[in-house]
């Protein structure tokens, strides 16, 4: 073997050629790749260039961004819309271009991991004049890096849809405003709600409302801008020729455009209409409420045996005033007539009917002793006037000396009586007045225990509650608390136990706490006029009745106190107005009476025939008379020995 064979030489030669060929082939291949890359690069550059050319030629906004969403390019339409140069756009990016409220939506696009689907959002872009207009932004992420040149990973466009959106939002806004304006009749509340709503298109909103009492201002809760910053829109609120006020909307960013002006014009029309409606309702409500108050008694009897407490709660401002009433007045024979009731229906008519019914009850109470009879006579009067009138009512007499209630009930909630730790509903009942027109009512009698609590109320107290039975139980529970604590004002306490806020319907409550005789005393303040004396005599008569004084002792007490009052009226005050305080109480076997005035009191001269006999009579009837003067005050202190049991 020692030398090479011919084939061996060939192999050596081929190895060298092979290396050379390989190098050549590699170079050729490299050149080919490079050439292809150059071609491809050139093609891509041409493509990008074409994209830019196409983008520039496009009237819509076209943009590109890097992977993170940073703006790289915006076409002329974008630059012109935003009023910026390409450099400014590149430097500031989306900041200052997109409304701050829409940036989250925009960022959401660039945070998407799925590159395949195109994305569409609606955002507001700031125009060169500062106005923001709604645009539909479409964005597509390039599939791979090979598609991207110059860092471009996102390509997108924006189409102005503002006018279309504004028309839709305007319709929606006005519909919402109309709903707000008809949802309430409480003027201030509804105007405040609308002012808040108006801030969707303004930074702040003020509604000035002119009225008889001056101009009221209802504003949105947004911060009021300084004058220098304001772009203000002022639109009068009118009802025909009558100016109701004005609508003032302010914005700090830019002036209101025509579309927004038109929007607020429409809003002002709706506000004006709502104001007229609400004011009309308020006038009727006020009239009915005034009538209602006028018809309710100003003063309740001042009795030493019964402590009255009443309450009339007018329903919320959006409720119609009802025809509820309560009443209590003293009769000449010492009894007390009481009534409570509710006229069916609401408004001025019901309030007026209530007034007629209450006065009819007063008239008939004077010459009747049967509550059922009184209700029948009231029914006859009502039927003569209007056969459609209907009312529920309780009418009764209280004999404070005997401690007895006689009553009749025409379809009204039962009277409640709290005593000895329990509350009972007093029996009785019949159809409402006017239901049949010829209803008759039975008279019931109930003893009124000392220290008891009698409560009459209208249905508004319990019927607002979902569970009426539960509400009635709450009334009873509150009554037990009141009965146990003489310091509690009964009517208010019971009402507060049922309502945390103002009741929706009117509520009338008449509560009577029956005071134990040992706790009795008279404390009256009367005007120094002759007409006041009869009230004092009535109080003295009941006081004497409770103490079981005989007729002569009662007469002595009444005449002696009455003469002291006459002296104060005639000799202390003369023609001047003043007040007289009367306090009477019983201590063991002695009755004390103190009559005080602040006039220029003098003991009448005996030669004042008749008039001067007052002091003589006082000295004769009272067991002890003492006249004390302290400063401007004169006290006539009388004592009467009694042999009461």
């Amino acid at each position: 073997m020692g030398g090479y064979e011919a084939g061996d030489v060939g192999i050596f030669y081929d190895w060298r050629l092979g290396v050379l060929s390989l190098i050549v082939a590699l170079v050729v291949a490299l050149l080919a790749v490079t050439t292809r890359l150059r071609i491809r690069h050139a093609m891509l550059n041409a493509s990008l260039q074409r994209l830019r050319v196409v983008a520039e030629a496009n009237p819509s906004i076209v943009w590109t961004a890097d992977l993170a969403g940073n703006l790289l390019f915006g076409n002329a339409a974008l630059l012109e819309y935003a009023g910026v140069t390409l450099d400014e756009l590149s430097a500031n990016g989306w900041h200052g271009l997109v409304h701050h409220s829409d940036r989250a939506a925009l960022n959401g696009i660039f945070e998407r991991s799925d590159p395949d689907d195109g994305t569409v959002v609606e955002i507001r872009l700031r125009r060169a004049d500062g106005a923001y207009r709604w645009h539909t932004l479409r964005a597509r992420r390039l599939r791979d890096k090979a598609q991207a040149r110059g860092g471009v990973r996102w390509v997108g466009s924006c189409a102005d849809v503002h006018d279309r959106n504004f028309a839709a939002s305007m319709t929606s806004f006005l519909a919402e405003a109309s709903e707000l304006l008809t949802a309430s009749l409480e003027l201030d509340r509804l105007l405040h709600s609308v002012a808040e709503l108006a801030c969707r298109y303004a930074d702040s909103c003020v509604i000035e409302l002119r009225g008889d009492a001056g101009t009221r201002i209802i504003s949105s809760s947004s911060e009021i801008l300084l004058d220098s910053q304001l772009s203000t829109l002022e639109i009068p609120l009118r009802a025909g020729e009558r100016v109701l006020g004005r609508l003032l909307c302010s914005r700090g960013v830019r002036a209101f455009n025509e579309g927004e002006r038109a929007l607020f014009d429409h809003l002002a029309t709706r506000i004006s209409s709502a104001i007229v409606n609400a004011q009309s309702y308020q006038r009727e409500h006020h009239l009915a409420e005034t009538l209602q108050k006028e018809f309710l008694p100003v003063n309740l009897p001042t009795l030493e045996g019964i402590d009255f407490d009443v309450l009339y709660a007018v329903g919320g401002p959006e409720s119609d005033v009802g025809g509820d009433w309560y009443d209590a007045f003293e009769l000449p024979d010492g009894r007390v007539a009481i009534s409570i009731g509710d006229i069916a229906g609401h408004g001025v008519r019901s309030a007026a009917t209530m007034g007629r019914v209450r006065h009819a009850l007063r008239d008939f109470a004077l010459d009747s002793t049967e509550p059922g009879d009184v209700l029948e006579r009231v029914q006859r009067v009502l039927m003569l006037e209007d056969r459609s009138t209907m009312a529920t009512a309780i009418f009764g007499y209280i004999d404070p000396v005997a401690g007895v209630l006689t009553y009749a009930n025409a379809g009204h909630p039962d009277p409640l009586l709290a005593s000895d730790g329990a509350v009972i509903a007093l029996p009785g009942g019949g159809l409402p007045i006017g239901l049949t027109g010829n209803e008759r009512w039975k008279t019931y009698t109930a003893p009124l225990p000392e220290s008891g609590l009698l409560l009459l109320y209208t249905d508004g107290l319990v019927e607002q509650h979902r569970d009426i039975v539960a509400a009635q139980e709450r009334v009873k529970a509150a009554m037990l608390e009141v009965a146990a604590d003489p310091g509690i004002r009964a009517a208010q306490y019971v009402k507060d136990a049922l309502f945390e806020e103002a009741p929706r319907d009117d509520v009338a409550i008449l509560a009577m706490r029956l005071i134990h005789p040992t706790e009795q005393r008279i404390a009256l303040s009367i005007s120094a006029v002759p007409a006041s004396a009869s009230a004092v005599r009535g109080a003295l008569k009941r006081f004497a009745g409770r103490l079981k004084l005989d007729d002569d002792a009662t007469f002595r007490l009444q005449v002696a106190v009455g003469e002291a009052i006459n002296n104060a009226i005639e000799h202390a005050y003369g023609a001047r107005m003043g007040t007289i305080e009367i306090r009477v109480w019983c201590d063991e076997q002695t009755i004390h009476a103190e009559i005080s005035d602040s006039g220029s009191w003098r003991v009448p001269r005996e030669r004042d025939e008749g008039r001067g006999r007052g002091m003589t009579i006082i000295h004769e009837l009272a067991d002890d008379v003492n006249i004390e003067r302290r400063g401007n005050t004169t006290n006539v202190v009388l004592q009467f020995a009694t042999d009461r049991p």
Binding site: P332, D333, P530, A531, A533, S534, R537, D551, D552, F555, R556, Q558, V559, G562, E563, N566, I569, E570, E609, G610, R611, R613, G614, T616, I617, E620, L621
Partner: protein, 123 residues
């Protein structure tokens, strides 16, 4: 009870003014008018009954005193029907009404007395 607390009647042609219920300073002027009206009937006397009065005070005493004097000047007489309560009688006594004027227990007695009088007011 009427609001004024008194009423004027004729009994056998004799004017009778009854005080009923409470008569006080407030009703005294109206009482005066009623008494003067009753005095227009020329029966020689006017009967005033305090029997049904639940309350009367010095203002009533004053009116009755003044009225009695006026009747006397006109040769007429004031006859008083007494109240029943001791204290009411005391008032008439200390004011000397029961001393100055003839007093009776009932209206009928007083009227009979008047019918027995002569026209000049004397028995």
């Amino acid at each position: 009870m009427s609001e004024l607390g008194f009423r004027a009647e004729l009994h056998d042609g004799v004017p009778v003014v009854r005080l009923v219920g409470d008569v006080d300073m407030r009703s005294a002027p109206a009482l005066r008018e009623t008494l003067l009206g009753a005095a227009q009937i020329d029966a020689g006397a006017v009967v005033v009954s305090l029997r049904d009065a639940a309350y009367f005070d010095s203002s009533v005493i004053y009116e009755l005193s003044a009225f009695g004097e006026r009747l006397g000047r006109n040769r007429q007489a004031l006859l008083i029907v007494l109240p029943t309560l001791p204290s009411a009688l005391t008032i008439l006594r200390i004011c000397r009404l029961s001393e100055r004027y003839d007093s009776y227990a009932s209206v009928e007695e007083a009227v009979s007395s008047v019918r027995g009088r002569t026209l000049d007011g004397t028995r």
